[in-house]
Symmetry: D2
Subunit: 123 residues, 4 copies
Amino acid sequence: MNVDEKYFSNITSRERAIFEGAISMGALFHQFVGTPVNKNTKEGLEKSMEDSLKLQPAIEDVEVKIRFDKLEESMTEFDYTSLNGDMLDVRIYTKVENVKAVIRIEFIEELNYPLMYVENIED
Amino acid sequence: MNVDEKYFSNITSRERAIFEGAISMGALFHQFVGTPVNKNTKEGLEKSMEDSLKLQPAIEDVEVKIRFDKLEESMTEFDYTSLNGDMLDVRIYTKVENVKAVIRIEFIEELNYPLMYVENIED
Amino acid sequence: MNVDEKYFSNITSRERAIFEGAISMGALFHQFVGTPVNKNTKEGLEKSMEDSLKLQPAIEDVEVKIRFDKLEESMTEFDYTSLNGDMLDVRIYTKVENVKAVIRIEFIEELNYPLMYVENIED
Amino acid sequence: MNVDEKYFSNITSRERAIFEGAISMGALFHQFVGTPVNKNTKEGLEKSMEDSLKLQPAIEDVEVKIRFDKLEESMTEFDYTSLNGDMLDVRIYTKVENVKAVIRIEFIEELNYPLMYVENIED
Protein backbone atom coordinates (compact mmCIF):
# COMPACT_ATOMS: atom_id res chain seq x y z
CA MET A 1 0.00 0.00 0.00
CA ASN A 2 1.12 3.51 -0.76
CA VAL A 3 0.20 5.16 2.53
CA ASP A 4 1.05 8.67 1.38
CA GLU A 5 -1.10 8.39 -1.69
CA LYS A 6 -4.01 6.69 0.03
CA TYR A 7 -4.18 8.73 3.22
CA PHE A 8 -2.32 11.97 2.67
CA SER A 9 -3.02 13.13 -0.88
CA ASN A 10 -5.69 15.52 0.41
CA ILE A 11 -3.19 17.74 2.22
CA THR A 12 -0.07 19.62 1.08
CA SER A 13 3.47 18.82 2.17
CA ARG A 14 3.39 21.94 4.28
CA GLU A 15 0.22 20.80 6.00
CA ARG A 16 1.63 17.36 6.58
CA ALA A 17 4.84 18.73 8.07
CA ILE A 18 2.65 20.59 10.55
CA PHE A 19 0.38 17.59 11.11
CA GLU A 20 3.12 15.12 11.96
CA GLY A 21 4.97 17.53 14.24
CA ALA A 22 1.78 18.41 16.10
CA ILE A 23 0.93 14.75 16.70
CA SER A 24 4.38 14.13 18.12
CA MET A 25 4.20 17.20 20.35
CA GLY A 26 0.84 16.13 21.77
CA ALA A 27 2.28 12.65 22.22
CA LEU A 28 5.41 13.83 23.99
CA PHE A 29 3.48 15.95 26.47
CA HIS A 30 0.91 13.34 27.42
CA GLN A 31 3.31 10.41 27.41
CA PHE A 32 5.92 11.86 29.73
CA VAL A 33 4.10 14.31 32.02
CA GLY A 34 4.02 12.63 35.44
CA THR A 35 7.44 10.97 35.15
CA PRO A 36 9.54 11.17 38.34
CA VAL A 37 12.51 13.50 37.73
CA ASN A 38 15.16 15.53 39.53
CA LYS A 39 18.32 17.36 38.51
CA ASN A 40 20.30 14.12 38.30
CA THR A 41 17.93 12.34 35.92
CA LYS A 42 16.86 15.41 33.94
CA GLU A 43 19.41 14.96 31.17
CA GLY A 44 18.77 11.24 30.71
CA LEU A 45 15.04 11.80 30.56
CA GLU A 46 15.43 14.56 27.98
CA LYS A 47 17.48 12.19 25.81
CA SER A 48 14.96 9.39 26.17
CA MET A 49 12.07 11.67 25.22
CA GLU A 50 14.00 12.82 22.17
CA ASP A 51 14.89 9.32 21.02
CA SER A 52 11.34 8.01 21.51
CA LEU A 53 9.67 10.76 19.53
CA LYS A 54 12.25 10.69 16.74
CA LEU A 55 10.80 7.28 15.79
CA GLN A 56 7.52 8.80 14.61
CA PRO A 57 6.80 9.55 10.93
CA ALA A 58 8.45 12.63 9.37
CA ILE A 59 10.31 13.59 12.55
CA GLU A 60 13.86 14.74 11.70
CA ASP A 61 14.99 15.85 15.12
CA VAL A 62 13.71 16.57 18.62
CA GLU A 63 15.27 18.88 21.20
CA VAL A 64 13.92 18.58 24.73
CA LYS A 65 14.90 20.94 27.51
CA ILE A 66 13.37 20.41 30.94
CA ARG A 67 13.45 23.86 32.55
CA PHE A 68 15.57 23.73 35.68
CA ASP A 69 13.84 26.71 37.30
CA LYS A 70 10.40 25.13 36.95
CA LEU A 71 11.80 21.81 38.13
CA GLU A 72 13.17 23.42 41.28
CA GLU A 73 9.91 25.34 41.85
CA SER A 74 7.96 22.14 42.22
CA MET A 75 10.66 20.23 44.12
CA THR A 76 9.42 18.14 47.06
CA GLU A 77 10.71 16.92 50.44
CA PHE A 78 11.70 13.68 48.67
CA ASP A 79 14.24 15.21 46.29
CA TYR A 80 12.30 14.57 43.12
CA THR A 81 9.08 15.74 41.53
CA SER A 82 6.76 14.80 38.66
CA LEU A 83 7.45 16.23 35.23
CA ASN A 84 4.77 18.77 34.34
CA GLY A 85 3.96 20.66 31.17
CA ASP A 86 5.28 23.97 32.47
CA MET A 87 8.80 22.51 32.57
CA LEU A 88 8.79 21.63 28.87
CA ASP A 89 10.77 23.61 26.33
CA VAL A 90 10.78 21.45 23.23
CA ARG A 91 11.36 21.80 19.51
CA ILE A 92 10.28 19.09 17.07
CA TYR A 93 11.73 19.33 13.57
CA THR A 94 9.76 17.73 10.74
CA LYS A 95 10.45 17.32 7.04
CA VAL A 96 7.98 16.35 4.32
CA GLU A 97 9.26 16.57 0.77
CA ASN A 98 10.94 19.99 0.58
CA VAL A 99 9.12 21.48 3.57
CA LYS A 100 10.69 21.85 7.00
CA ALA A 101 8.70 22.82 10.06
CA VAL A 102 9.60 23.47 13.68
CA ILE A 103 6.89 22.78 16.25
CA ARG A 104 7.53 24.35 19.64
CA ILE A 105 6.17 24.09 23.15
CA GLU A 106 7.14 26.61 25.76
CA PHE A 107 5.56 27.90 28.93
CA ILE A 108 4.04 31.36 28.42
CA GLU A 109 3.90 33.18 31.75
CA GLU A 110 1.11 35.54 30.64
CA LEU A 111 -1.16 32.62 29.72
CA ASN A 112 -0.01 30.35 32.57
CA TYR A 113 0.01 27.76 29.81
CA PRO A 114 2.55 25.64 27.95
CA LEU A 115 1.71 26.77 24.41
CA MET A 116 2.29 24.64 21.34
CA TYR A 117 2.73 26.52 18.10
CA VAL A 118 4.52 26.40 14.73
CA GLU A 119 7.74 28.27 15.42
CA ASN A 120 9.02 28.12 11.89
CA ILE A 121 8.06 26.69 8.54
CA GLU A 122 9.76 27.00 5.20
CA ASP A 123 9.54 25.52 1.77
CA MET B 1 -2.01 39.39 24.57
CA ASN B 2 -3.52 38.41 21.25
CA VAL B 3 -2.34 34.79 21.11
CA ASP B 4 -3.57 34.17 17.58
CA GLU B 5 -1.79 37.21 16.22
CA LYS B 6 1.42 36.63 18.14
CA TYR B 7 1.82 32.88 17.69
CA PHE B 8 -0.34 31.78 14.79
CA SER B 9 -0.16 34.49 12.12
CA ASN B 10 2.47 32.46 10.23
CA ILE B 11 0.03 29.68 9.35
CA THR B 12 -3.33 29.63 7.56
CA SER B 13 -6.66 28.75 9.16
CA ARG B 14 -6.55 25.47 7.31
CA GLU B 15 -3.11 24.69 8.69
CA ARG B 16 -4.18 25.61 12.18
CA ALA B 17 -7.29 23.42 12.00
CA ILE B 18 -4.96 20.54 11.16
CA PHE B 19 -2.41 21.57 13.79
CA GLU B 20 -4.84 21.70 16.71
CA GLY B 21 -6.58 18.44 15.77
CA ALA B 22 -3.26 16.63 15.42
CA ILE B 23 -2.07 17.79 18.85
CA SER B 24 -5.27 16.54 20.44
CA MET B 25 -5.06 13.21 18.66
CA GLY B 26 -1.47 12.66 19.82
CA ALA B 27 -2.58 13.72 23.30
CA LEU B 28 -5.56 11.37 23.40
CA PHE B 29 -3.50 8.36 22.36
CA HIS B 30 -0.64 8.87 24.78
CA GLN B 31 -2.79 10.00 27.69
CA PHE B 32 -5.21 7.10 27.72
CA VAL B 33 -3.32 4.10 26.33
CA GLY B 34 -2.69 1.82 29.31
CA THR B 35 -5.99 2.55 31.08
CA PRO B 36 -7.69 -0.54 32.54
CA VAL B 37 -10.87 -1.25 30.55
CA ASN B 38 -13.44 -3.95 29.86
CA LYS B 39 -16.84 -4.11 28.18
CA ASN B 40 -18.58 -2.61 31.21
CA THR B 41 -16.37 0.48 31.47
CA LYS B 42 -15.82 0.95 27.73
CA GLU B 43 -18.62 3.44 27.23
CA GLY B 44 -17.78 5.56 30.26
CA LEU B 45 -14.13 5.71 29.24
CA GLU B 46 -15.05 6.76 25.69
CA LYS B 47 -17.16 9.60 27.11
CA SER B 48 -14.40 10.71 29.46
CA MET B 49 -11.82 10.75 26.66
CA GLU B 50 -14.20 12.81 24.53
CA ASP B 51 -14.96 15.33 27.25
CA SER B 52 -11.29 15.75 28.21
CA LEU B 53 -10.09 16.40 24.69
CA LYS B 54 -12.95 18.75 23.85
CA LEU B 55 -11.39 21.21 26.29
CA GLN B 56 -8.40 21.83 24.02
CA PRO B 57 -8.19 24.83 21.65
CA ALA B 58 -10.23 24.71 18.42
CA ILE B 59 -11.77 21.31 19.18
CA GLU B 60 -15.46 21.29 18.25
CA ASP B 61 -16.25 17.68 18.89
CA VAL B 62 -14.62 14.32 19.61
CA GLU B 63 -16.02 10.87 18.88
CA VAL B 64 -14.24 7.96 20.53
CA LYS B 65 -15.05 4.35 19.76
CA ILE B 66 -13.09 1.64 21.53
CA ARG B 67 -13.23 -1.34 19.19
CA PHE B 68 -14.94 -4.22 20.92
CA ASP B 69 -13.24 -6.87 18.76
CA LYS B 70 -9.76 -5.60 19.60
CA LEU B 71 -10.75 -5.26 23.25
CA GLU B 72 -11.84 -8.90 23.35
CA GLU B 73 -8.71 -10.02 21.50
CA SER B 74 -6.49 -8.79 24.27
CA MET B 75 -8.78 -9.82 27.15
CA THR B 76 -7.04 -11.42 30.12
CA GLU B 77 -7.81 -13.95 32.86
CA PHE B 78 -8.76 -11.01 35.09
CA ASP B 79 -11.70 -9.77 32.99
CA TYR B 80 -10.10 -6.52 31.96
CA THR B 81 -7.20 -5.39 29.81
CA SER B 82 -5.18 -2.24 29.11
CA LEU B 83 -6.38 0.14 26.43
CA ASN B 84 -4.04 0.00 23.45
CA GLY B 85 -3.76 2.03 20.27
CA ASP B 86 -5.15 -0.71 18.05
CA MET B 87 -8.51 -0.41 19.82
CA LEU B 88 -8.89 3.28 18.99
CA ASP B 89 -11.31 4.52 16.36
CA VAL B 90 -11.52 8.26 16.93
CA ARG B 91 -12.57 11.37 15.05
CA ILE B 92 -11.60 14.83 16.27
CA TYR B 93 -13.49 17.74 14.70
CA THR B 94 -11.75 21.14 14.64
CA LYS B 95 -12.86 24.56 13.47
CA VAL B 96 -10.65 27.58 12.84
CA GLU B 97 -12.37 30.57 11.25
CA ASN B 98 -14.30 29.09 8.34
CA VAL B 99 -12.27 25.88 8.09
CA LYS B 100 -13.44 22.56 9.46
CA ALA B 101 -11.18 19.52 9.69
CA VAL B 102 -11.67 15.94 10.81
CA ILE B 103 -8.63 14.14 12.22
CA ARG B 104 -8.96 10.39 12.38
CA ILE B 105 -7.17 7.48 13.98
CA GLU B 106 -8.00 3.94 12.99
CA PHE B 107 -6.14 0.67 13.03
CA ILE B 108 -4.96 -0.32 9.53
CA GLU B 109 -4.54 -4.09 9.35
CA GLU B 110 -2.09 -3.95 6.43
CA LEU B 111 0.26 -1.65 8.36
CA ASN B 112 -0.38 -3.25 11.78
CA TYR B 113 -0.54 0.34 12.88
CA PRO B 114 -3.12 2.77 14.25
CA LEU B 115 -2.80 5.48 11.60
CA MET B 116 -3.57 9.14 12.23
CA TYR B 117 -4.56 11.17 9.19
CA VAL B 118 -6.73 14.05 8.03
CA GLU B 119 -9.98 12.36 7.06
CA ASN B 120 -11.66 15.48 5.81
CA ILE B 121 -10.99 19.20 5.50
CA GLU B 122 -13.10 21.91 3.95
CA ASP B 123 -13.22 25.65 3.81
CA MET C 1 -3.47 -22.35 37.28
CA ASN C 2 -4.11 -21.26 40.86
CA VAL C 3 -2.58 -17.78 40.68
CA ASP C 4 -2.94 -17.08 44.38
CA GLU C 5 -1.20 -20.28 45.35
CA LYS C 6 1.55 -20.00 42.77
CA TYR C 7 2.38 -16.31 43.05
CA PHE C 8 1.05 -15.05 46.36
CA SER C 9 1.57 -17.78 48.95
CA ASN C 10 4.72 -16.03 50.17
CA ILE C 11 2.82 -13.05 51.56
CA THR C 12 -0.05 -12.69 54.05
CA SER C 13 -3.56 -11.50 53.21
CA ARG C 14 -2.74 -8.24 54.97
CA GLU C 15 0.36 -7.79 52.83
CA ARG C 16 -1.55 -8.56 49.68
CA ALA C 17 -4.31 -6.10 50.52
CA ILE C 18 -1.58 -3.46 50.79
CA PHE C 19 0.19 -4.68 47.65
CA GLU C 20 -2.83 -4.57 45.37
CA GLY C 21 -3.99 -1.19 46.62
CA ALA C 22 -0.54 0.31 46.21
CA ILE C 23 -0.25 -0.92 42.62
CA SER C 24 -3.59 0.63 41.77
CA MET C 25 -2.69 3.92 43.43
CA GLY C 26 0.59 4.15 41.49
CA ALA C 27 -1.35 3.23 38.35
CA LEU C 28 -4.06 5.84 38.90
CA PHE C 29 -1.54 8.64 39.41
CA HIS C 30 0.64 7.89 36.41
CA GLN C 31 -2.22 6.98 34.08
CA PHE C 32 -4.29 10.11 34.56
CA VAL C 33 -1.85 12.90 35.46
CA GLY C 34 -1.71 15.16 32.39
CA THR C 35 -5.38 14.75 31.42
CA PRO C 36 -7.07 18.00 30.34
CA VAL C 37 -9.63 18.99 32.98
CA ASN C 38 -11.73 21.91 34.20
CA LYS C 39 -14.63 22.37 36.61
CA ASN C 40 -17.13 21.07 34.05
CA THR C 41 -15.35 17.79 33.35
CA LYS C 42 -14.00 17.23 36.86
CA GLU C 43 -16.84 15.01 38.00
CA GLY C 44 -16.90 12.86 34.88
CA LEU C 45 -13.15 12.35 35.07
CA GLU C 46 -13.34 11.36 38.74
CA LYS C 47 -15.97 8.76 37.86
CA SER C 48 -13.94 7.41 34.96
CA MET C 49 -10.81 7.09 37.11
CA GLU C 50 -12.82 5.24 39.74
CA ASP C 51 -14.41 2.83 37.28
CA SER C 52 -11.11 2.07 35.53
CA LEU C 53 -9.20 1.28 38.69
CA LYS C 54 -12.01 -0.79 40.20
CA LEU C 55 -11.27 -3.37 37.50
CA GLN C 56 -7.93 -4.29 39.03
CA PRO C 57 -7.49 -7.31 41.32
CA ALA C 58 -8.73 -7.04 44.94
CA ILE C 59 -10.08 -3.51 44.50
CA GLU C 60 -13.43 -3.16 46.25
CA ASP C 61 -14.01 0.53 45.76
CA VAL C 62 -12.27 3.73 44.65
CA GLU C 63 -13.14 7.28 45.64
CA VAL C 64 -11.51 10.02 43.60
CA LYS C 65 -11.80 13.68 44.51
CA ILE C 66 -10.02 16.21 42.30
CA ARG C 67 -9.36 19.17 44.59
CA PHE C 68 -11.15 22.21 43.26
CA ASP C 69 -8.77 24.70 44.95
CA LYS C 70 -5.71 23.10 43.36
CA LEU C 71 -7.51 22.89 40.03
CA GLU C 72 -8.26 26.63 40.13
CA GLU C 73 -4.69 27.43 41.23
CA SER C 74 -3.28 26.00 38.04
CA MET C 75 -6.05 27.28 35.74
CA THR C 76 -4.88 28.74 32.43
CA GLU C 77 -6.00 31.38 29.93
CA PHE C 78 -7.71 28.56 27.99
CA ASP C 79 -10.19 27.57 30.71
CA TYR C 80 -8.71 24.17 31.38
CA THR C 81 -5.53 22.75 32.83
CA SER C 82 -3.70 19.41 33.10
CA LEU C 83 -4.50 17.15 36.02
CA ASN C 84 -1.55 17.04 38.39
CA GLY C 85 -0.73 14.95 41.44
CA ASP C 86 -1.33 17.78 43.89
CA MET C 87 -5.02 17.82 42.92
CA LEU C 88 -5.55 14.17 43.86
CA ASP C 89 -7.42 13.14 46.97
CA VAL C 90 -8.09 9.45 46.52
CA ARG C 91 -8.98 6.43 48.61
CA ILE C 92 -8.64 2.90 47.24
CA TYR C 93 -10.38 0.17 49.23
CA THR C 94 -9.01 -3.37 48.92
CA LYS C 95 -10.15 -6.68 50.35
CA VAL C 96 -8.15 -9.91 50.48
CA GLU C 97 -9.74 -12.74 52.48
CA ASN C 98 -10.80 -11.13 55.73
CA VAL C 99 -8.48 -8.11 55.48
CA LYS C 100 -9.63 -4.69 54.37
CA ALA C 101 -7.20 -1.88 53.60
CA VAL C 102 -7.59 1.74 52.58
CA ILE C 103 -4.80 3.25 50.52
CA ARG C 104 -4.81 7.03 50.39
CA ILE C 105 -3.15 9.78 48.40
CA GLU C 106 -3.41 13.36 49.52
CA PHE C 107 -1.30 16.44 49.02
CA ILE C 108 0.70 17.28 52.15
CA GLU C 109 1.50 21.00 52.21
CA GLU C 110 4.52 20.60 54.50
CA LEU C 111 6.16 18.12 52.12
CA ASN C 112 4.92 19.80 48.92
CA TYR C 113 4.17 16.24 47.92
CA PRO C 114 1.14 14.08 47.18
CA LEU C 115 1.81 11.33 49.73
CA MET C 116 0.58 7.76 49.29
CA TYR C 117 0.10 5.82 52.53
CA VAL C 118 -2.00 3.11 54.17
CA GLU C 119 -4.79 5.09 55.84
CA ASN C 120 -6.42 2.14 57.46
CA ILE C 121 -6.05 -1.62 57.65
CA GLU C 122 -8.01 -4.12 59.65
CA ASP C 123 -8.43 -7.85 59.89
CA MET D 1 7.60 16.41 60.34
CA ASN D 2 8.56 12.80 60.88
CA VAL D 3 6.77 11.26 57.89
CA ASP D 4 7.52 7.68 58.86
CA GLU D 5 6.14 8.13 62.35
CA LYS D 6 3.09 10.09 61.29
CA TYR D 7 2.03 8.12 58.22
CA PHE D 8 3.66 4.72 58.38
CA SER D 9 3.67 3.60 62.01
CA ASN D 10 0.56 1.48 61.38
CA ILE D 11 2.38 -0.94 59.08
CA THR D 12 5.49 -3.10 59.52
CA SER D 13 8.77 -2.63 57.67
CA ARG D 14 7.93 -5.71 55.64
CA GLU D 15 4.57 -4.27 54.67
CA ARG D 16 6.12 -0.96 53.75
CA ALA D 17 8.79 -2.60 51.58
CA ILE D 18 5.93 -4.23 49.68
CA PHE D 19 3.88 -1.02 49.61
CA GLU D 20 6.58 1.19 48.15
CA GLY D 21 7.64 -1.36 45.54
CA ALA D 22 4.06 -1.91 44.44
CA ILE D 23 3.43 1.81 44.01
CA SER D 24 6.51 2.12 41.85
CA MET D 25 5.56 -0.89 39.74
CA GLY D 26 2.08 0.50 39.10
CA ALA D 27 3.69 3.84 38.30
CA LEU D 28 6.22 2.39 35.89
CA PHE D 29 3.60 0.48 33.92
CA HIS D 30 1.13 3.32 33.53
CA GLN D 31 3.72 6.02 32.97
CA PHE D 32 5.61 4.35 30.17
CA VAL D 33 3.10 2.12 28.35
CA GLY D 34 2.42 3.83 25.01
CA THR D 35 5.95 5.15 24.52
CA PRO D 36 7.26 4.79 20.94
CA VAL D 37 10.06 2.19 20.92
CA ASN D 38 12.05 -0.06 18.61
CA LYS D 39 15.17 -2.17 18.89
CA ASN D 40 17.43 0.87 18.63
CA THR D 41 15.83 2.84 21.45
CA LYS D 42 14.96 -0.15 23.66
CA GLU D 43 18.07 0.04 25.78
CA GLY D 44 17.92 3.79 26.33
CA LEU D 45 14.27 3.58 27.31
CA GLU D 46 14.98 0.76 29.77
CA LYS D 47 17.67 2.92 31.40
CA SER D 48 15.41 5.94 31.57
CA MET D 49 12.61 3.92 33.16
CA GLU D 50 15.07 2.56 35.72
CA ASP D 51 16.50 5.96 36.60
CA SER D 52 13.08 7.60 36.91
CA LEU D 53 11.65 4.99 39.24
CA LYS D 54 14.77 4.80 41.39
CA LEU D 55 13.90 8.31 42.61
CA GLN D 56 10.85 7.10 44.51
CA PRO D 57 10.89 6.38 48.26
CA ALA D 58 12.56 3.13 49.44
CA ILE D 59 13.57 2.04 45.94
CA GLU D 60 17.09 0.58 45.98
CA ASP D 61 17.31 -0.58 42.40
CA VAL D 62 15.23 -1.16 39.29
CA GLU D 63 15.95 -3.59 36.47
CA VAL D 64 13.89 -3.12 33.32
CA LYS D 65 13.99 -5.54 30.42
CA ILE D 66 11.80 -4.83 27.42
CA ARG D 67 11.18 -8.25 25.87
CA PHE D 68 12.55 -8.28 22.35
CA ASP D 69 10.21 -11.08 21.18
CA LYS D 70 7.10 -9.19 22.27
CA LEU D 71 8.52 -6.00 20.78
CA GLU D 72 8.99 -7.70 17.41
CA GLU D 73 5.53 -9.31 17.60
CA SER D 74 3.84 -5.94 17.63
CA MET D 75 6.21 -4.26 15.16
CA THR D 76 4.56 -2.04 12.55
CA GLU D 77 5.16 -0.90 8.98
CA PHE D 78 6.82 2.21 10.43
CA ASP D 79 9.67 0.43 12.20
CA TYR D 80 8.55 1.22 15.71
CA THR D 81 5.68 0.32 17.99
CA SER D 82 4.16 1.44 21.30
CA LEU D 83 5.47 -0.08 24.51
CA ASN D 84 2.84 -2.36 25.99
CA GLY D 85 2.57 -4.20 29.29
CA ASP D 86 3.25 -7.61 27.77
CA MET D 87 6.78 -6.49 26.88
CA LEU D 88 7.69 -5.64 30.46
CA ASP D 89 10.00 -7.82 32.52
CA VAL D 90 10.89 -5.70 35.53
CA ARG D 91 12.25 -6.15 39.03
CA ILE D 92 12.01 -3.37 41.61
CA TYR D 93 14.18 -3.78 44.70
CA THR D 94 13.05 -2.03 47.88
CA LYS D 95 14.59 -1.74 51.33
CA VAL D 96 12.87 -0.57 54.50
CA GLU D 97 14.91 -0.94 57.69
CA ASN D 98 16.23 -4.50 57.55
CA VAL D 99 13.69 -5.80 55.04
CA LYS D 100 14.41 -6.27 51.37
CA ALA D 101 11.71 -7.01 48.83
CA VAL D 102 11.70 -7.70 45.11
CA ILE D 103 8.57 -6.74 43.20
CA ARG D 104 8.27 -8.33 39.78
CA ILE D 105 6.20 -7.91 36.66
CA GLU D 106 6.30 -10.50 33.92
CA PHE D 107 3.94 -11.59 31.20
CA ILE D 108 2.26 -14.91 32.07
CA GLU D 109 1.19 -16.68 28.89
CA GLU D 110 -1.49 -18.76 30.62
CA LEU D 111 -3.20 -15.65 31.98
CA ASN D 112 -2.51 -13.46 28.94
CA TYR D 113 -1.61 -10.92 31.58
CA PRO D 114 1.45 -9.07 32.81
CA LEU D 115 1.32 -10.16 36.45
CA MET D 116 2.77 -8.10 39.29
CA TYR D 117 3.77 -10.06 42.38
CA VAL D 118 6.25 -10.16 45.25
CA GLU D 119 9.06 -12.30 43.88
CA ASN D 120 11.10 -12.30 47.04
CA ILE D 121 11.05 -10.81 50.50
CA GLU D 122 13.42 -11.32 53.40
CA ASP D 123 14.11 -9.84 56.77
